[in-house]
């Protein structure tokens, strides 16, 4: 590509990228407001709201709940959906099963939330309801990422292992997993990330005593907006950004090795 074409492309892309980042940037700036109200630009800058968020239990409890739910959802998601993703990538048959696995992505989360609310009845107040719903919410991405990774495995290696007497599981453990280990790690982090930020299922399925962070943010925005919300938002965005960087790095590490 010639010089001016690249420059034209950059000229168009940069404003777009800045526009994408702008709302997030506003939240970061707002989190440093010294006063009790949100003013842009802040009239006096201070870190007091970060201190408030990290010490007060009204914020710490939802943060802990979120981490707990996210961890549980990750374990469920990894154990249940990683095998499915691997197998769908290795074999060309049964690809129609993908249609089932991608369902939670295409069905609106609100429909799932309300349906589960009605359907689970008393069960929805147990600890498992929310992590389970988060797990299936993240499952399409997990399955697709692993399927993509498993498709890069060459069939000959597996067939050689089987011919020499290995069971399918042994072949996978010995040949597939070492090759797609980064993708597996990434696909374990993905449900964690998605669960932390998931607002809709949490709003409908959480109880007052396992309120997750998005729910707390929601109610604080409705009832008493303060820079604390912006501070929590910034912390959450930074953490999510870091996790995202790790996930993308893991996936790209694998691709670069294979020139995919």
């Amino acid at each position: 590509m010639k010089r001016w074409e690249l420059r034209a492309l950059k000229g168009v892309s940069v404003p777009i990228l800045l526009a994408i980042l702008a709302p997030m940037g506003v939240i970061v700036v707002l989190s440093f407001c010294g006063g009790d109200t949100l003013t842009f630009p802040p009239q006096n800058w201070s870190l007091r709201w970060y201190e408030a968020v990290l010490t007060r239990s009204e914020w710490l409890r939802p943060i802990m709940n979120s981490l707990q739910v996210a961890t549980t959802a990750t374990i469920i998601s990894a154990v249940v959906y990683i095998p499915a993703g691997i197998v769908l990538g290795l074999r060309q048959r049964f690809q129609w099963l993908l249609g089932v696995f991608v369902l939670p992505f295409v069905v609106p989360p609100l429909v799932l939330a309300i349906g589960l609310y009605e359907g689970l009845g008393a069960l929805r107040n147990t600890f498992w309801a929310l992590p389970l719903s988060h797990a299936i919410f993240a499952s399409p991405v997990v399955v697709l990422v692993l399927r993509n990774a498993a498709q890069t495995i060459e069939a000959e290696g597996l067939r050689a292992a089987r011919i020499h007497g290995a069971t399918f599981f042994q072949a996978v453990r010995g040949i597939v997993i070492p090759q797609i280990a980064p993708s597996m790690a990434a696909s374990a982090l993905i449900p964690f990330l998605l669960s932390l930020n998931e607002p809709i299922l949490s709003l409908y399925l959480s109880t007052p005593w396992n309120q997750t962070l998005p729910v707390k943010v929601w109610s604080s925005l409705r009832f008493n907006v303060s820079p604390a919300t912006a501070a929590v938002g910034t912390i959450s965005m930074v953490f999510s950004g870091l996790l995202l960087a790790v996930i993308v790095r893991l996936i790209s590490l694998e691709r670069i090795d294979k020139h995919v």
Binding site: M24, P109, I114, L116, P214
Partner: protein, 274 residues
Amino acid sequence: MLERIRSTLPLTTLLWCSAGLVITGLLVGGAIVALATRVLDQPSELKIIFSPSVQAVLIDTLAICVGTTLVTVSVGFILGVALRFAGIKSLWLILGVVLFPLVTDQIIRNYAFYFLFQDGGVWASLFGLFGVARPPQILYTRTGVVLGISHGLLALSVLPVWLSLQRLSDSELRAAQVHGARPLHVLRDLVVPASLPGVVVGAFFTFVLTLGYYVTPKMLGGRSGLMIAALIDQYINNLGDRLGAAVLSLLLFGLCLPFIALTPYMLNLLERRT
């Protein structure tokens, strides 16, 4: 020996998928069945689908879906092309920025929008700088909701376009250049056709995800929220009408059914690489 290998694998495939199938199937199927049983208790309630308020919201929803799809596809195309031709450092930068809204809390993101565009906010001040007294209204309009949703779903259009543009090899482009093709011709004859599968897939998923979008219309949309999902939420929280909410949820699910059916085909579209 080879026969045995071939014949056992399908069973293994199903076995490994079984846990996932059971859980996904049970929860998604269970949710729909629960809604359906609720509605079947009082089938007469189905008539609210034809009430003027619901019809108006349906039209608004579809308009917003179309608008969002157009915006994300256009911007997605530009950024997808940028990703294709970017150097390593730019690639990481663009990818990071594009993926970032996907992983941030929707509520916080939309609140930033709300804050920017509220009366007396930053948007109004910007126009005030140029002496314009009343800036164009963004909040509580379809445009505002389109912008808010596009911001969140942009990655869904950029990534498929980038993926399908990867089929376009550097040597093809160089060959075109060597043969004297002007950049506009390269764009028209090589880049755009190569990006089409990605554009179609991106548009497809953007449309169906916008159909069910909840947080943005609720925060930026005003009284009716302008979209079905926000309306459903109103039925539950403001009217306490769970039955009506169930009816509308089934309606929303019904609208998504054609997309559910076409999803495997769309995923296939992205996979076909020469």
